[in-house]
Symmetry: C2
Subunit: 192 residues, 2 copies
Protein backbone atom coordinates (compact mmCIF):
# COMPACT_ATOMS: atom_id res chain seq x y z
CA UNK A 1 0.00 0.00 0.00
CA UNK A 2 2.65 2.50 -1.09
CA UNK A 3 4.28 3.83 -4.17
CA UNK A 4 6.76 1.21 -5.45
CA UNK A 5 10.40 1.92 -6.25
CA UNK A 6 11.14 2.77 -9.85
CA UNK A 7 14.69 1.37 -9.80
CA UNK A 8 16.30 -1.93 -8.93
CA UNK A 9 18.17 -1.66 -5.67
CA UNK A 10 20.79 -4.28 -6.56
CA UNK A 11 21.40 -2.75 -9.98
CA UNK A 12 21.82 0.66 -8.40
CA UNK A 13 24.37 -0.73 -5.98
CA UNK A 14 26.28 -2.23 -8.88
CA UNK A 15 26.34 1.13 -10.63
CA UNK A 16 27.56 2.80 -7.45
CA UNK A 17 30.28 0.20 -7.17
CA UNK A 18 31.42 0.93 -10.71
CA UNK A 19 31.72 4.63 -10.04
CA UNK A 20 33.51 4.29 -6.69
CA UNK A 21 35.79 1.69 -8.23
CA UNK A 22 36.78 4.03 -11.03
CA UNK A 23 37.04 7.33 -9.19
CA UNK A 24 37.65 6.41 -5.56
CA UNK A 25 35.75 7.59 -2.53
CA UNK A 26 36.87 11.20 -2.36
CA UNK A 27 36.86 11.51 -6.14
CA UNK A 28 33.23 10.49 -6.42
CA UNK A 29 30.49 13.04 -5.80
CA UNK A 30 26.86 12.38 -4.98
CA UNK A 31 26.13 13.94 -8.33
CA UNK A 32 28.33 11.34 -10.03
CA UNK A 33 26.39 8.64 -8.24
CA UNK A 34 22.89 9.90 -8.93
CA UNK A 35 23.76 10.36 -12.60
CA UNK A 36 25.18 6.88 -12.99
CA UNK A 37 22.56 5.16 -10.87
CA UNK A 38 19.80 7.13 -12.57
CA UNK A 39 18.07 8.05 -9.36
CA UNK A 40 17.90 11.32 -7.49
CA UNK A 41 19.53 12.22 -4.22
CA UNK A 42 16.58 11.68 -1.87
CA UNK A 43 16.08 8.17 -3.24
CA UNK A 44 19.76 7.44 -2.82
CA UNK A 45 19.80 8.56 0.80
CA UNK A 46 16.56 6.79 1.63
CA UNK A 47 17.73 3.52 0.10
CA UNK A 48 21.45 3.29 0.81
CA UNK A 49 22.12 5.76 3.59
CA UNK A 50 24.80 8.40 3.18
CA UNK A 51 27.82 8.37 0.89
CA UNK A 52 30.09 6.51 3.24
CA UNK A 53 27.55 3.82 3.99
CA UNK A 54 26.87 3.29 0.29
CA UNK A 55 30.58 3.04 -0.33
CA UNK A 56 31.06 0.38 2.32
CA UNK A 57 28.07 -1.58 1.00
CA UNK A 58 29.47 -1.42 -2.54
CA UNK A 59 32.90 -2.50 -1.34
CA UNK A 60 31.47 -5.48 0.50
CA UNK A 61 29.44 -6.50 -2.52
CA UNK A 62 32.65 -6.38 -4.54
CA UNK A 63 34.46 -8.55 -2.04
CA UNK A 64 31.65 -11.08 -2.00
CA UNK A 65 31.82 -11.53 -5.76
CA UNK A 66 35.59 -11.76 -5.49
CA UNK A 67 35.31 -14.44 -2.84
CA UNK A 68 32.78 -16.34 -4.87
CA UNK A 69 35.09 -16.37 -7.87
CA UNK A 70 38.02 -17.48 -5.76
CA UNK A 71 36.09 -20.11 -3.85
CA UNK A 72 35.01 -21.67 -7.10
CA UNK A 73 38.48 -21.64 -8.63
CA UNK A 74 40.06 -23.15 -5.55
CA UNK A 75 37.55 -26.00 -5.33
CA UNK A 76 38.24 -27.27 -8.84
CA UNK A 77 39.76 -30.69 -9.31
CA UNK A 78 42.96 -29.49 -10.90
CA UNK A 79 46.63 -29.39 -9.92
CA UNK A 80 47.26 -26.72 -7.32
CA UNK A 81 49.83 -24.95 -9.44
CA UNK A 82 47.35 -24.77 -12.28
CA UNK A 83 44.77 -23.19 -10.02
CA UNK A 84 47.24 -20.60 -8.78
CA UNK A 85 48.29 -19.82 -12.30
CA UNK A 86 44.67 -19.47 -13.32
CA UNK A 87 44.00 -17.10 -10.43
CA UNK A 88 46.92 -14.84 -11.24
CA UNK A 89 46.34 -14.96 -14.98
CA UNK A 90 42.71 -14.05 -14.54
CA UNK A 91 43.66 -11.12 -12.32
CA UNK A 92 46.02 -9.89 -15.00
CA UNK A 93 43.59 -10.45 -17.86
CA UNK A 94 40.61 -8.84 -16.20
CA UNK A 95 42.65 -5.80 -15.24
CA UNK A 96 44.08 -5.39 -18.72
CA UNK A 97 40.75 -5.97 -20.41
CA UNK A 98 38.95 -3.39 -18.33
CA UNK A 99 38.69 -0.38 -20.67
CA UNK A 100 38.77 1.91 -17.64
CA UNK A 101 41.78 0.23 -16.04
CA UNK A 102 40.36 0.46 -12.55
CA UNK A 103 42.57 -2.22 -11.04
CA UNK A 104 41.24 -3.78 -7.86
CA UNK A 105 38.57 -1.98 -5.87
CA UNK A 106 39.94 -3.32 -2.60
CA UNK A 107 43.51 -2.28 -3.37
CA UNK A 108 42.35 1.15 -4.49
CA UNK A 109 40.40 1.55 -1.29
CA UNK A 110 43.27 0.39 0.92
CA UNK A 111 45.69 2.86 -0.58
CA UNK A 112 43.18 5.68 -0.47
CA UNK A 113 41.58 5.29 2.92
CA UNK A 114 42.83 2.45 5.12
CA UNK A 115 45.08 4.82 7.02
CA UNK A 116 42.27 7.25 7.73
CA UNK A 117 39.10 5.19 8.01
CA UNK A 118 38.94 2.59 10.77
CA UNK A 119 35.99 0.78 9.23
CA UNK A 120 37.77 0.44 5.90
CA UNK A 121 40.91 -0.62 7.71
CA UNK A 122 39.01 -3.41 9.43
CA UNK A 123 37.43 -4.58 6.19
CA UNK A 124 40.84 -4.63 4.53
CA UNK A 125 42.38 -6.60 7.38
CA UNK A 126 39.52 -9.11 7.33
CA UNK A 127 39.87 -9.44 3.58
CA UNK A 128 43.55 -10.16 3.91
CA UNK A 129 43.01 -12.81 6.55
CA UNK A 130 40.30 -14.42 4.50
CA UNK A 131 42.28 -14.59 1.28
CA UNK A 132 45.42 -15.72 3.03
CA UNK A 133 43.59 -18.53 4.74
CA UNK A 134 42.03 -19.68 1.46
CA UNK A 135 45.45 -19.66 -0.17
CA UNK A 136 47.04 -21.47 2.76
CA UNK A 137 44.35 -24.13 2.51
CA UNK A 138 45.10 -24.50 -1.17
CA UNK A 139 48.81 -24.86 -0.47
CA UNK A 140 48.13 -27.49 2.15
CA UNK A 141 46.03 -29.38 -0.34
CA UNK A 142 49.01 -29.28 -2.66
CA UNK A 143 51.25 -30.58 0.07
CA UNK A 144 48.88 -33.42 0.84
CA UNK A 145 48.89 -34.47 -2.78
CA UNK A 146 52.63 -34.07 -3.11
CA UNK A 147 52.51 -31.17 -5.55
CA UNK A 148 54.10 -28.79 -3.07
CA UNK A 149 57.10 -29.62 -0.91
CA UNK A 150 55.85 -30.70 2.49
CA UNK A 151 58.60 -28.95 4.42
CA UNK A 152 57.52 -25.50 3.25
CA UNK A 153 55.47 -23.26 5.48
CA UNK A 154 51.98 -23.01 3.97
CA UNK A 155 51.15 -19.77 5.77
CA UNK A 156 54.34 -18.22 4.57
CA UNK A 157 53.65 -19.20 0.98
CA UNK A 158 50.12 -17.85 1.32
CA UNK A 159 51.49 -14.50 2.45
CA UNK A 160 53.86 -14.56 -0.48
CA UNK A 161 51.03 -15.27 -2.90
CA UNK A 162 48.87 -12.58 -1.38
CA UNK A 163 51.64 -10.04 -1.89
CA UNK A 164 51.79 -11.03 -5.53
CA UNK A 165 48.03 -10.85 -5.94
CA UNK A 166 48.13 -7.29 -4.76
CA UNK A 167 51.22 -6.35 -6.72
CA UNK A 168 49.86 -7.74 -9.96
CA UNK A 169 46.72 -5.67 -9.59
CA UNK A 170 48.61 -2.47 -9.05
CA UNK A 171 50.96 -3.00 -11.94
CA UNK A 172 48.39 -4.14 -14.45
CA UNK A 173 46.81 -0.72 -14.04
CA UNK A 174 49.75 0.99 -15.75
CA UNK A 175 51.59 -1.76 -17.59
CA UNK A 176 49.78 -2.97 -20.65
CA UNK A 177 52.54 -5.34 -21.64
CA UNK A 178 50.89 -8.67 -21.11
CA UNK A 179 54.05 -10.58 -21.87
CA UNK A 180 55.97 -8.95 -19.05
CA UNK A 181 53.25 -9.67 -16.57
CA UNK A 182 52.77 -13.22 -17.73
CA UNK A 183 56.48 -13.97 -17.71
CA UNK A 184 56.59 -13.06 -14.04
CA UNK A 185 54.06 -15.80 -13.37
CA UNK A 186 56.74 -18.42 -13.85
CA UNK A 187 58.90 -16.78 -11.22
CA UNK A 188 55.98 -16.64 -8.81
CA UNK A 189 55.15 -20.29 -9.31
CA UNK A 190 58.79 -21.32 -9.01
CA UNK A 191 58.75 -20.15 -5.41
CA UNK A 192 56.04 -22.61 -4.47
Amino acid sequence: MARPKKFDEAAGLQKAMDVFWKKGYAGTSISDLTTSMEINAPSLYATYGDKHKLFVTALQAYLQSQYEWMRQAVSEQKPVREIIRYLLATLIDSTLEDPERRGCFMVNTITEMANQDTQVFRIAADNENHIRSVLAELIRKGQASGEVAADKDADMLASFLYINFMGVRVIAATNSDKKHLYSALDAILSAI
Copy 2:
Protein backbone atom coordinates in the same frame (compact mmCIF):
# COMPACT_ATOMS: atom_id res chain seq x y z
CA MET B 1 64.80 44.66 -5.25
CA ALA B 2 61.61 43.06 -4.01
CA ARG B 3 60.00 41.69 -0.91
CA PRO B 4 61.62 38.34 -0.11
CA LYS B 5 59.72 35.14 0.52
CA LYS B 6 58.99 34.37 4.14
CA PHE B 7 58.96 30.58 3.68
CA ASP B 8 61.35 27.99 2.32
CA GLU B 9 60.16 26.73 -1.03
CA ALA B 10 61.69 23.26 -0.67
CA ALA B 11 60.35 22.84 2.86
CA GLY B 12 56.91 23.83 1.66
CA LEU B 13 57.08 21.26 -1.10
CA GLN B 14 58.02 18.62 1.43
CA LYS B 15 55.01 19.54 3.54
CA ALA B 16 52.75 19.39 0.51
CA MET B 17 54.16 15.96 -0.30
CA ASP B 18 53.37 14.74 3.21
CA VAL B 19 49.76 15.85 2.95
CA PHE B 20 49.15 14.47 -0.55
CA TRP B 21 50.87 11.25 0.48
CA LYS B 22 48.57 10.84 3.44
CA LYS B 23 45.26 11.98 1.99
CA GLY B 24 45.59 11.51 -1.74
CA TYR B 25 44.94 14.06 -4.46
CA ALA B 26 41.16 14.32 -4.30
CA GLY B 27 41.18 13.96 -0.53
CA THR B 28 43.48 16.95 -0.06
CA SER B 29 42.05 20.45 -0.12
CA ILE B 30 43.89 23.70 -0.73
CA SER B 31 43.00 24.53 2.84
CA ASP B 32 44.77 21.37 4.03
CA LEU B 33 47.82 22.42 2.08
CA THR B 34 47.98 26.04 3.19
CA THR B 35 47.55 24.97 6.82
CA SER B 36 50.29 22.38 6.66
CA MET B 37 52.65 24.46 4.56
CA GLU B 38 51.97 27.52 6.70
CA ILE B 39 51.47 29.82 3.78
CA ASN B 40 48.33 31.37 2.34
CA ALA B 41 46.65 30.53 -0.90
CA PRO B 42 48.02 33.34 -3.08
CA SER B 43 51.58 32.42 -2.11
CA LEU B 44 50.88 28.78 -2.89
CA TYR B 45 49.53 29.56 -6.33
CA ALA B 46 52.29 32.05 -7.12
CA THR B 47 55.03 29.64 -6.10
CA TYR B 48 53.84 26.18 -7.11
CA GLY B 49 51.08 26.76 -9.64
CA ASP B 50 47.68 25.18 -9.12
CA LYS B 51 46.80 22.11 -7.09
CA HIS B 52 47.53 19.62 -9.83
CA LYS B 53 50.89 21.11 -10.68
CA LEU B 54 51.91 21.11 -7.03
CA PHE B 55 50.86 17.50 -6.75
CA VAL B 56 52.95 16.44 -9.72
CA THR B 57 55.95 18.36 -8.41
CA ALA B 58 55.58 16.70 -5.01
CA LEU B 59 55.25 13.28 -6.60
CA GLN B 60 58.38 13.76 -8.67
CA ALA B 61 60.31 14.93 -5.63
CA TYR B 62 59.18 11.75 -3.87
CA LEU B 63 60.34 9.60 -6.76
CA GLN B 64 63.71 11.32 -6.87
CA SER B 65 64.36 10.55 -3.21
CA GLN B 66 63.19 7.00 -3.82
CA TYR B 67 65.57 6.64 -6.76
CA GLU B 68 68.42 8.06 -4.75
CA TRP B 69 67.86 5.53 -1.98
CA MET B 70 67.65 2.68 -4.44
CA ARG B 71 70.64 3.77 -6.48
CA GLN B 72 72.73 3.82 -3.37
CA ALA B 73 71.57 0.43 -2.13
CA VAL B 74 72.16 -1.19 -5.49
CA SER B 75 75.68 0.15 -5.84
CA GLU B 76 76.88 -1.37 -2.58
CA GLN B 77 79.54 -4.06 -2.62
CA LYS B 78 77.38 -6.80 -1.19
CA PRO B 79 75.86 -10.05 -2.44
CA VAL B 80 72.97 -9.36 -4.75
CA ARG B 81 70.54 -11.38 -2.64
CA GLU B 82 71.51 -9.37 0.37
CA ILE B 83 70.80 -6.13 -1.48
CA ILE B 84 67.41 -7.35 -2.59
CA ARG B 85 66.57 -8.47 0.90
CA TYR B 86 67.66 -5.11 2.24
CA LEU B 87 65.48 -3.30 -0.28
CA LEU B 88 62.38 -5.31 0.55
CA ALA B 89 63.01 -5.27 4.30
CA THR B 90 63.45 -1.52 4.25
CA LEU B 91 60.21 -1.09 2.34
CA ILE B 92 58.43 -3.17 4.96
CA ASP B 93 60.07 -1.44 7.90
CA SER B 94 59.54 2.08 6.69
CA THR B 95 55.88 1.39 5.95
CA LEU B 96 55.27 -0.22 9.33
CA GLU B 97 57.17 2.46 11.19
CA ASP B 98 55.27 5.30 9.60
CA PRO B 99 52.75 6.31 12.28
CA GLU B 100 50.36 7.43 9.56
CA ARG B 101 50.69 4.22 7.54
CA ARG B 102 50.71 6.05 4.24
CA GLY B 103 52.25 3.23 2.24
CA CYS B 104 53.92 4.30 -1.00
CA PHE B 105 53.05 7.65 -2.51
CA MET B 106 53.54 6.31 -6.03
CA VAL B 107 51.35 3.26 -5.43
CA ASN B 108 48.67 5.41 -3.82
CA THR B 109 48.75 7.75 -6.79
CA ILE B 110 48.60 4.95 -9.35
CA THR B 111 45.54 3.38 -7.76
CA GLU B 112 43.84 6.72 -7.33
CA MET B 113 44.51 8.47 -10.61
CA ALA B 114 46.50 6.59 -13.23
CA ASN B 115 43.32 5.57 -15.01
CA GLN B 116 42.04 9.13 -15.22
CA ASP B 117 45.10 11.38 -15.46
CA THR B 118 47.35 10.92 -18.48
CA GLN B 119 50.22 12.84 -16.92
CA VAL B 120 50.15 10.66 -13.82
CA PHE B 121 49.84 7.59 -16.00
CA ARG B 122 52.99 8.59 -17.86
CA ILE B 123 54.91 9.24 -14.67
CA ALA B 124 53.84 5.86 -13.32
CA ALA B 125 54.89 4.08 -16.51
CA ASP B 126 58.26 5.84 -16.50
CA ASN B 127 58.74 4.95 -12.88
CA GLU B 128 58.04 1.32 -13.58
CA ASN B 129 60.47 1.21 -16.47
CA HIS B 130 63.13 2.89 -14.42
CA ILE B 131 62.83 0.61 -11.41
CA ARG B 132 62.58 -2.50 -13.53
CA SER B 133 65.73 -1.59 -15.41
CA VAL B 134 67.62 -0.94 -12.17
CA LEU B 135 66.48 -4.31 -10.84
CA ALA B 136 67.35 -6.08 -14.09
CA GLU B 137 70.81 -4.55 -13.93
CA LEU B 138 71.18 -5.83 -10.40
CA ILE B 139 70.10 -9.31 -11.44
CA ARG B 140 72.59 -9.29 -14.29
CA LYS B 141 75.30 -8.32 -11.87
CA GLY B 142 74.31 -11.33 -9.81
CA GLN B 143 74.47 -13.53 -12.86
CA ALA B 144 77.94 -12.25 -13.75
CA SER B 145 79.19 -13.07 -10.27
CA GLY B 146 77.47 -16.44 -10.23
CA GLU B 147 75.01 -15.59 -7.48
CA VAL B 148 72.03 -15.92 -9.78
CA ALA B 149 71.53 -18.75 -12.26
CA ALA B 150 72.70 -17.55 -15.65
CA ASP B 151 69.92 -19.25 -17.57
CA LYS B 152 67.21 -17.16 -15.92
CA ASP B 153 65.71 -14.19 -17.68
CA ALA B 154 66.87 -11.06 -15.88
CA ASP B 155 64.03 -8.92 -17.20
CA MET B 156 61.51 -11.49 -16.09
CA LEU B 157 62.97 -11.61 -12.60
CA ALA B 158 62.98 -7.82 -12.49
CA SER B 159 59.27 -7.77 -13.32
CA PHE B 160 58.71 -10.34 -10.64
CA LEU B 161 60.59 -8.27 -8.09
CA TYR B 162 58.77 -5.12 -9.09
CA ILE B 163 55.43 -6.85 -8.50
CA ASN B 164 56.60 -7.80 -5.03
CA PHE B 165 57.84 -4.30 -4.30
CA MET B 166 54.39 -2.98 -5.05
CA GLY B 167 52.57 -5.75 -3.26
CA VAL B 168 54.61 -5.36 -0.10
CA ARG B 169 53.83 -1.68 0.03
CA VAL B 170 50.12 -2.22 -0.27
CA ILE B 171 49.99 -4.94 2.34
CA ALA B 172 52.20 -3.26 4.89
CA ALA B 173 49.56 -0.53 5.03
CA THR B 174 47.04 -2.85 6.67
CA ASN B 175 49.07 -5.76 8.01
CA SER B 176 51.11 -4.87 11.05
CA ASP B 177 52.38 -8.40 11.51
CA LYS B 178 56.02 -7.97 10.74
CA LYS B 179 56.71 -11.68 10.99
CA HIS B 180 54.26 -12.56 8.25
CA LEU B 181 55.72 -9.98 5.92
CA TYR B 182 59.28 -10.93 6.69
CA SER B 183 58.61 -14.62 6.28
CA ALA B 184 57.44 -13.97 2.73
CA LEU B 185 60.86 -12.52 1.96
CA ASP B 186 62.32 -16.00 1.90
CA ALA B 187 59.80 -17.09 -0.70
CA ILE B 188 60.54 -14.05 -2.81
CA LEU B 189 64.27 -14.64 -2.69
CA SER B 190 63.86 -18.33 -3.41
CA ALA B 191 62.50 -17.45 -6.85
CA ILE B 192 65.71 -15.69 -7.84
